[in-house]
Subunit: 225 residues, 2 copies
DNA sequence: GTCTATAGAAGGATAGAC
DNA sequence: GTCTATCCTTCTATAGAC
């Protein structure tokens, strides 16, 4: 009984996840979800009462999945630079395995901004920005990253990994003539994005005019593991 | 007569633009568009026959508007660096005046990828990438930007201006405690993004080898769903 | 060209038998 | 728990009067 319940409920949930991601809340049909799960329409209401509630369950699960996985990255005892590299490896890997999540989340939040409040409150990763800037205040200071511009930096970091998935179709269409493969583009991006950010930050050290000897010293690891 | 026709057709078109941007194709209702225009539902079909056709007209107009404005930027006789600065000033200004367009376009393309083909074919700005890399091949070479990585660079450039608008709600919610104002964030971004890109590129001069010392090679497989 | 009225289909949700 | 049958609403689209 309980065993079977769980099966049905899970089938519904998984199918709903699939359909909602594919079509969005407005485009998704309860019929499609039921068909996809191979069950009767009525059961959707039996388990979740309304389309809205079913969607909320799916939405929260997705938001949780996509953010929770990143927490370990920031808990590690690494330098800012190393965290950037690790972040892009993990984040882009995660997105590569779930390439449709960014558009889904961002679009649904955009259409219904009230969803964001719960997200910011309940999702630990949302505090990363403050945590990060506190953990690495010295380093950031050394790079002449003012506290004022930390939000700019954070948004830039997120942009570089999320945007390619959001614009996947356009990117693919635009470069397809030059025998471009999205998968290899994404694989290369892990390192490219990290280098991009690190260079953008580090160069600040030297900007106070032609430190021609400008050898860039890598700061020591703050600690072993 | 013709005068009045144009008025009605325009009112419909403008209202449709408003509603489609706000709700997306699936969420938009013909009734809402008619009400917004202050006219009868039937007139929508009289002028545009179907919801689909009305949407297509709106979509193409928006795509055209958002891209056409950028063409002059790239026609100018400027260095790559100057173009970057000018691009962000113009692009972010454009987006600031139409902050909902990026999500609208990207989401609709995502839900209906066939829309992208016409876009890439008919929209001159889509050729910018090839034009740019040809116009500035010397400069890019001097910066050690390999032809191979030009798509990475192009996507990165676009990310930095588009993403903040796509994630506006999240960004606002995340930083609101630190008395953050989205408008001033965006204004500052014009210069920030330009500097960011220029530094990221220029630094290549000084880092002949892709520097990946001290990187932690740790394979971690993320399971798909 | 513009309106009213309505067709015809599809949507979410519920009642009730099993 | 699961199914069939069906209610009620809403949606796009059209017919036809003016």
């Amino acid at each position: 009984m309980t065993e079977k319940d769980k099966l049905t409920e899970e089938k519904i949930f998984d199918s709903a996840t699939e359909i909602f991601i594919e079509k969005g809340f407005d485009g998704a049909r309860m019929r499609d979800i039921a068909d996809h799960a191979g069950i009767n329409k009525s059961l959707l209401h039996y388990y979740y009462r309304t389309k809205e509630r079913l969607f909320n369950a799916v939405f929260e699960n997705i938001a949780d999945r996509i953010f929770r996985k990143l927490i370990p990255v920031f808990d590690k005892n690494l330098s800012f630079e190393e965290k950037i590299r690790l972040f892009y490896r993990e984040h882009i890997d995660l997105l590569h395995n779930n390439p449709r999540l960014p558009v889904f989340l961002l679009n649904e939040i955009y259409r219904n901004p009230s969803r964001v409040e719960k997200l910011v409150k309940d999702t630990p990763i949302m505090k990363i920005w403050t945590v990060l800037s506190e953990q690495h205040s010295e380093e950031l200071e050394r790079f002449n990253v003012s506290a004022d511009s930390i939000p700019q930096l954070m948004v830039s970091i997120a942009s570089l990994s999320l945007f390619p998935f959001i614009a996947k179709n356009i990117i693919t269409a635009m470069f397809e003539k030059e025998d471009y493969d999205f998968d290899s583009f994404i694989e290369k991006r892990k390192e490219y994005a990290a280098e991009f950010v690190i260079r953008a930050i580090k160069n600040r050290e030297q900007l106070p005019e032609a430190d021609s000897k400008g050898q860039i010293r890598r700061e020591k690891r703050t600690a072993g593991r």
